[in-house]
Homo-oligomer: 177 residues x 2
Amino acid sequence: MNFRLEQAIEMLERTPATLEALLSGLSEDWLSCNEGEGTWNASEVVAHLIEGERTNWIPRLEWLLREGEGKPFPPFDRYSHLNGAADASIDRKLREFREIRLQNTAKLKELIDSEERLEALGTHPAFGAVKARELASTWVAHDLTHIAQIVRVMAERYREDVGPWIAYLGILNKERQ
Amino acid sequence: MNFRLEQAIEMLERTPATLEALLSGLSEDWLSCNEGEGTWNASEVVAHLIEGERTNWIPRLEWLLREGEGKPFPPFDRYSHLNGAADASIDRKLREFREIRLQNTAKLKELIDSEERLEALGTHPAFGAVKARELASTWVAHDLTHIAQIVRVMAERYREDVGPWIAYLGILNKERQ
């Protein structure tokens, strides 16, 4: 196992600034492009990350630490960000993500005040027994997944434009993730 | 075709700040992890991006605009960054990348002073005829490829740690790019 709380927090703290550097002020053509029907653009991915801060990571961690294995997490709608305020500007979304992430990493430090807390068990509605450490690791890997998704979606715009160089560009040469 | 010079420049200009936000001050464990023997860590990817600025994108574009189809590009060693100053600190590499990228986007604007210039032809040693537009598009897609690579490599560290959530994490659930 590689998880260490302070390193996980390093990464969680960097995601908002990384997305701001990449997306703030970018042309609408970059922000609204997607990989086709039913796929997300960069702006929708940021909305999904905000929704995860609101309803997934910290609420589930609190639930796990409070309820233990007795009561499974309530279900989580991974598409709920597509309703609601998905049409806010990218800068507003990025600011909102930065603020809520800052609160949530502070909360994480409070909740996990010892190594033992990382081994606490809860019940996932589909997976059964899960540990606090697994939930926290997943939060980090989920950020990384969605950063990768955003850059992959944007690279897709140039699929035709790169001409023969497509042969050297891994990002355009594989099954969709 | 989706390529527009000013949008390509938006993206090229954002890559250094994006990588700084993600990597500056990060633990060595994150910076030095890779996907196994013969694969690159985040720090080596930044060295590769610097090398591309020095010897690939702008030098090839200048060559193409000067020589046309008559003389193929000189060969380019995609592994040359693994020799040389690969052991500089991440902050030094990030600073170097920012500086050379700034010079090169300025140069790009100078070199491509009209839409017609984008249609200029050169000869790639493996592909044959290529356009300036294809080279410039590839430069952008190459940035995005390597941002995706860095986050994928870092997510790999938590492959075991995420436990059953691996089922929901696209980044850990596919063939290597």
